[in-house]
């Protein structure tokens, strides 16, 4: 009897010890936030990926606003090419590592990372540094190399693309974060948040056969939207994209843009891209087509943007 009592007490005590006042703190915080109003977009410049991520998340009200306890979370970077981080063909591994950690800290049940790569998937996962980064942070890196991993979903809002096979990690996820790298792109002209969704589908040939720009907009109309888009512009490939040839294709911008609005973020990213290379909004057809599908706005004056320089 005494032992049972002791056990009970210790369990209660343990529970009490592990209690924290996150909820209370969040409530207190949100009090102040209501005064300040949460921005629709945050742009950060001048820091290392992890630092910029934290600044941006803080400005947006914390990761807890987007990722809840017990959720199955997917992070979708661009891991398309067998390229090292310096060549900016893939999303920055430091950013992915930090983001996986933040999601787990927010109480995510598991964090899965994948991409449907263009080059050999094992080489891409390895050379990009992303597989190692994810494992280090405690996330799961999942293959996307076989049709087996993809499940048919319908996209009622799509104009040309009405259904697609989407990676099952995403189909089963409670929340997902889209983490593209900003790049020049030979076909789509610009590769950013919207274009990154081409890596969640199995059959990309359909896209190229049936109006690439429209299909990119259509896939973004899939009902399970990313809770956040985080554009990695730490390094930016301004020419010879999406694969790139050498370091001469890369500009060091040390920037990051974060927003739930996928159209607005690509509009902003294009403007950032224009700081280095000229590219017409009209040429990047999928942004306008996405706006027509009411997926967001290209009018950046309409939304509240917070700009942070470090």
């Amino acid at each position: 009897m005494k032992r049972r009592d002791f056990l009970k007490t210790s369990v209660v005590a343990g529970a009490a010890l592990s209690l924290n006042f996150d909820g209370l703190q969040a409530a207190l915080k949100s009090n102040t936030v209501t005064v300040e109003q949460v921005p629709d977009m945050v742009a950060v410049m001048g820091g290392e990926p992890e630092v910029m991520l934290d600044k941006a998340l803080e400005a947006l009200g914390g990761i807890g606003k987007y990722i809840k306890k017990g959720q199955k979370v997917v992070i979708k970077p661009n891991i398309g090419w067998d390229r090292t981080p310096e060549l900016a063909g893939n999303t920055n591994p430091e950013l992915i590592k930090a983001l996986v950690k933040r999601c787990l800290a927010a109480g995510a049940e598991k964090v899965t990372v994948f991409d449907h790569t263009c080059d050999n998937w094992q080489k891409c996962y390895e050379t990009s540094g992303i597989a190692a980064a994810v494992k280090e942070a405690g996330g799961i890196i999942m293959p996307g190399n076989d049709e087996k991993y993809y499940k048919e979903v319908s996209i009622p809002g799509g104009v040309t693309l009405k259904d697609a096979k989407i990676h099952e990690a995403l189909v089963e996820a409670d929340a997902w974060i889209n983490v593209p790298i900003l790049k020049n792109h030979g076909g789509a002209k610009l590769s950013c948040a919207m274009k990154n969704l081409m890596g969640i589908v199995w059959d990309r040939r359909f896209f190229h056969q049936n109006d690439l720009q429209q299909c990119i907009a259509d896939i973004c109309a899939w009902q399970k939207k990313p809770v956040l888009n985080i554009v990695d512009a730490y390094r930016m490939m301004h020419q010879n994209g999406p694969q790139g040839k050498s370091a001469a294709d890369v500009a060091m911008l040390k920037s990051m843009i974060v927003s739930p609005d996928i159209i607005a973020i690509d509009t902003a990213a294009l403007k950032l891209f224009n700081q280095v290379k000229e590219l017409d909004m009209e040429a990047v057809g999928h942004i306008g087509k996405g706006e027509a599908l009411k997926l967001g706005t290209t009018n950046l004056d309409k939304i509240k943007i917070k700009r942070i320089k470090i």
């Binding site: 742009a43 067998d82 190229h208 109006d211 040839k245 001469a248 500009a251 700081q275 943007i305």
Partner: protein
Amino acid sequence: MKRTNYLKGLRVLLAILFFVPILLFFVDFAGALPSGIHKLLHAQLMPAILGGMVGIIVFQFLLALLFGRIYCSVICSAGVLQDIINRIFCIGKKKKKGVRRFKYHKPANWVRYSILALTVILAVLGFSELCLLLDPYSNFGRIATNLFRPVVMWSNNILADLLMKVDNYSLYHVTISTVSTAGLIAAIIALVLFIVLVIFRGRLFCNTLCPVGALLSLISRYSFFRISFDKEACTHCGNCEHTCKAEAIDSKNLTIDTSRCVDCFNCVSSCAKGGLQYRYQPVALKKEKAQPAVNATDTMSIGQTGANSRRSFLATGVTVAASLPVISAIADEVETCKGDGSCGNHKGKGKGHGQKKWPPLTPPGSISLERFKDKCTGCHLCVVRCPSQVLRPTGLEYGFDYMLKPRLAYISSYCNYECTVCADVCPTGAIKPLTKEEKMTTQVGIATFFINRCIVKTEGNDCGACSEHCPTQAVHMVPYEGTLTIPHVDPDLCIGCGGCESICPVRPMRAIIVKSNEVHKFVEKPKEEEVKEVEVDDFGF
């Protein structure tokens, strides 16, 4: 008095040491094994001969001269495979129906030396297809590639699916894409042939069809160490004859045909009385010793078989030589019918009607189509080791003399820019080793763009998939109508890796197709542009 016989145990042990790594190397679809294992394959005789590796050839010949055809029981993967088939067949059977089911047969010297001579002569004439079809190692390779490997991959998929349920992705799902109809048929025929021959006639393949076996038999009949009867110990029970897979022991006349003996030592083990011994006994020595013997039958018969087979070998040689004109005529025919494209099917990639069919793309390092045809034995090792699964065995679509040889097929993948795996592992040197730099500048073919099929022109839409996948930007996008851009090929930069062709969405015929160089060329490495510092301190929005 039974003596401990360690020879058979040693033979089995050595065979395992050779066979298991080679087998695993073939079925390892994940590239998990070190590529150094390919060095074991350099001991294979047919690849060594075609690759002109004199050292290995001399070594193998010396080995056969010293110890007999140990090669056939230890080094030859197909030989060991046959022993395994035999072992499996014997499971659960009584000795009489199992291990002791064989009996002495006369050698089929005419057949084996005709085949050997034909193989050699055709190879000298530059038609190596018979080497490819009869080489035991290459047959083993095709069996492993097209039959064993898929089984391993299926098992992997079942396991991977189970592990996936608990979020374990250490195994991943794989698609079997390198098994072609021709490869599969060749493998099934070879395996069925092995099984049937082993069950009914033991190592008959090795002693009739196999040119490597026939070649080694010419040497092994003079081998210094050999198995022979100890007449005093022998009780004429016949156990040794019935255990001999090579059917080379005549227990009535107490003779052993050393030219067919594969040194498995089963007979030595089977004899409780020590009536058979493996010992130093050169032919000359044996004759001298045999002279005073009362019963000279064995010397006689050995002498006779020796003379017989030598005679038949010579006779065969002459006959085959006489039939040469016929063969070259046939070869010519094959040549012409390939030229006008009326033979073989046209299932390959669309090349337009009436257009002459483009020759196959050979792997980087093969130097030229002709050289590759001469040297490749179609073992499919490159096919299984290629991380991009871009090498595919052909059927008859490129003619009989390219049958079962691999080509670069840009169906759904392309040749990785910096990868040299196929060249690293090729046991014949048909694909010569390349450095990374050499690989990146070897032009196996040139991308050819058909603008009238391109989506940018036909549909008026953006695409650019080809340029996207081009590692050298030989295929780059140039302004077209409005904001559209269209691909353009710079032949001086293109290495023919097929990135463009593999991804082109146009069907049935793709808008960009790599045309092979029959002789590979070299291109300049793309010029490194200067890295410019870009200063950006404003978001632009």
